[in-house]
Amino acid sequence: MSELTESVESVKSQGKEQFWKKLISKFGSLLALIILMIVLTIMSDRFLTVNNLTNIARQSSINALLAIGMLLPILTAGIDLSVGSILALSIMIMGVVSINLQMGPVVGIIACLAIGAGFGLLNGLLLTKLRLPHPFISTLGTMNIARGIALIITGAAPIAGFPYMIQFLGSEFAGPIPISFLLVIVVYTLFHIFLTRSQTGRYIYAIGGNKEAARLSGINVDRVLIIVYTISGFMAGLAGLVLVGRVNSAFPLAGLTYELDAIAAVIIGGASFFGGVGTVWGTLIGALIIAVLRNGLNLLNVSADFQMTVIGLVIIAAVYVDVLRQRKSKSN
């Protein structure tokens, strides 16, 4: 709110046109989401119903959890391609531990999150200790490794019949609101505080802004990167837990290409691929835009193939708008 009043004050003298330009550049993706929702409301009478909105909230939550994890590597000018595979491995291990080995839901949940964080840690170590040139490579490797192990452990068979405690996050509701969406709100709030108010959080932006300047300012860059990839992996485990709750099954091909949707959400949400720029709430809006778009196209009976095409166009359009904006601000 204070940001808004500030920008209002600072542009008072510059006339209305300027004001709108600033507003659009600051809240552009939110505006896009609202316009999208208005259009869908007009085009389909089934869109703006409690039932459907509940659906969108549920459908968006897994991607939202992966995307907020993905935001961190992208802020450091990196990427994490392994989250979809880590998700699959985490839930397979959870299935094996809690069901096949009958160690109970608590141990299962812990195993799920620990595998996620552990694989993330591995990503971080590969990047910083082996000095692999770019996280695209290290996470491309672990993406295949994690998926491979997920397939190996049960011989590609799914595991079903999870206890209530494991299903809780993904299946329960508080009134009309899915618990998974409440989880998203809580997680995003925590991430917002982490990224804006904690030392490590600010260091993440610094490293993305200029790694060498950050190092020479006394920042332990390796340590921060390891934390970043560990958190991203942990979020993949958490998203897996929600997925299992929703479908009551763990299967080794779960989360296939989910990393791409997560990257899309972060980019649509205004983060820069070159690091240093991006916000938590932008990412949430990015994830919601993708979910609303998918949902809307479903309501309008658009085929899945065509949906992919549309989402591809949205990604390009969103980034292009950003490019135009930056070109403008730089030439000023």
Binding site: R202, A206, A213, L216, S217, G218, N220
Partner: protein, 500 residues
């Protein structure tokens, strides 16, 4: 036939409400070195960008050899015969000299889609190299095997192959070593004799004296005056540039010399480099002079823990410090103002307050271990006031400040760490004279308040003007330790160039 090669008349250019050029006149003759002089923000680069077609002007006219012309794009500018050597070279290090020279205009054996004529290109490149006084065999050497000076010659060769009539050189000597600078001067002399007009941008007044024929001085978007170098003195240029007379270029203050506060003992940067010793006393500024590549920056980086050192001890106030990383150096009270503020000093796309607080974030922690944005803003505001950082908007990204103000932001970052030892590496490179004096005053203030200051600089007048003692480095070794009274230009150059 025409006295002027080209004239730019009454040029106006604004960006939104910011009027950068407010009626600039600029006339260049063939066969002259015409210096553009002005403080950062005076409009030099905007004027050049209009000439090279990167910007379009709002008003004004350009007359090229007596004819009105429009320059709407970089290509149109190039076709007129305007070439630019930027400060940051525009070469591809992996490609050879001849490939770089012909990049984008390769010679072919036949039509547009035929194969490249390597032999013809190499021959032409060899001719050019000879013309520039170089060994023709370099034509097939990859650029990353060459020094900065020779890489720059490749850029000049690129301009010559285009048959350029105007060569714009933007601070061409700022990253060259002494020998390379001399070589460049000779080439500039030669090109001038061949009738090429050279627009030379530089902050180094000695260099302008050596090379320039005329100077056009810009200030606040106006062309103040065009003067002949031979008949005017340096102080007059400065006066025109800053709009007032500067009392002194180097506001040196003398303080009482105290105890040794900072000591470097038997310090080896690498296994086979010589052992270095250095004592810095309270109340003195110690300069480190030397040619580019003498190992000064490497020495400083190793002290600061930015690079690993092979051996050596570091003492502050007699206490040995364990420094293996920048973090440990900062905690020990050392600040390192790096040579290249854009790539090593600043987070260009993050706001000023963030940049200022970056190296000492832990001191802004409040409740629940969370950072206090208000405390960070306050700290930044304080430094903006103290160092007169302009514009005084702490939310502005570092990219949007001029060179001098960016340098102040970097210095503020280090003041914020409450450091005791300040190692400045080329702190005034590329900033204008007014800002330079401010940096010098700040260094004075630091010494006065009890800091230990090392000033690494390639600008010898600066070293001689500001320091109490001069160390000279040569091939990784410290070859002289001169009190300022003995440090003449000759003595320093001798120690910097003779066999170590």
């Amino acid at each position: 036939m025409y006295e002027a090669l080209f004239e730019m008349k009454n040029i106006y250019k604004s960006f939104q409400n910011n009027h950068v050029l407010k009626g600039v006149d600029f006339h260049v003759r063939p066969g002259e070195v015409h210096v553009l002089l002005g403080e950062n923000g005076a409009g030099k680069s905007t004027l050049i960008k209009i000439l090279t077609g990167a910007y379009s002007m709002d008003q004004g006219e350009i007359i090229w050899q007596g004819k009105h012309v429009q320059i709407n794009s970089p290509i149109e500018s190039m076709e007129l015969g305007i070439a630019t050597i930027y400060q940051e070279l525009n070469v591809i290090p992996e490609l050879t000299v001849y490939e770089n020279i012909f990049l984008g205009r390769e010679l072919k054996k036949g039509g547009k889609y035929s194969l490249l004529d390597r032999k013809a290109m190499i021959e032409r490149a060899e001719e050019l190299l000879i013309r520039l006084g170089q060994n023709p065999k370099l034509a097939t050497t990859p650029l990353n095997k060459l020094g900065m000076g020779q890489q720059q010659l490749v850029e000049i060769a690129k301009a010559l192959i285009l048959d350029a009539k105007v060569l714009i050189m933007d601070e061409p000597t700022s990253s060259l070593s002494g020998g390379e600078v001399e070589q460049l001067y000779k080439i500039v002399d030669q090109l001038r004799e061949e009738g090429i007009a050279i627009i030379f941008i530089s902050h180094r007044l000695e260099e302008i004296r050596r090379l320039g024929n005329r100077i056009t001085i810009l200030r606040d978007g106006l062309s103040i005056e065009t003067v002949d170098v031979a008949t005017t003195d340096t102080d007059y240029w400065i006066e025109l540039m800053v709009g007032r007379s500067l009392d002194e270029k180097f506001p040196k203050k003398d303080f009482t010399r105290g105890e040794v506060g900072f000591r470097i003992e038997n310090f080896k940067v690498t296994a086979d480099s010589p052992a270095l010793n250095m004592d810095i006393h309270y109340g003195e500024i110690v300069g480190i002079s030397g040619l580019v590549g003498a190992g000064r920056t490497e020495f400083a980086r190793a002290i600061f823990g930015a690079d690993k050192r092979h051996a050596g001890k570091i003492y502050i106030d007699g206490v040995e410090q364990n420094i293996q990383s920048p973090r440990q150096a900062i905690d020990a009270g050392i600040a390192f103002i790096t040579e290249d503020r854009k790539s090593e000093g600043l987070l260009l796309d993050l706001p000023l307050d963030f940049n200022v607080c970056l190296a000492n974030m832990k001191s802004f922690k409040g409740r629940g271990n969370l950072l206090s944005p208000a405390a960070m803003r306050n700290q930044a505001e304080t430094y903006v006031q103290e160092l007169k950082i302009r514009p005084s908007n702490i939310e502005l990204h570092a990219r949007n400040f001029s060179g001098g103000n960016q340098q102040k932001v970097v210095i503020a970052k280090w003041l914020c760490t409450k450091a005791k030892v300040f190692i400045f590496d080329e702190p005034t490179r590329g900033i204008d004279i007014g800002a330079k004096v401010e940096v010098y005053r700040l260094i004075n203030r630091l010494v006065e308040e009890g800091a230990l200051v090392v000033l690494i600089s390639s600008d010898l007048p600066e070293i001689l003007g500001m320091c109490d003692r001069v160390l000279v480095m040569n091939q990784g070794n410290i070859t002289a330790n001169l009190p300022i009274v003995e440090a003449t230009q000759e003595a320093v150059m001798k120690a910097a160039t003779l066999g170590a």
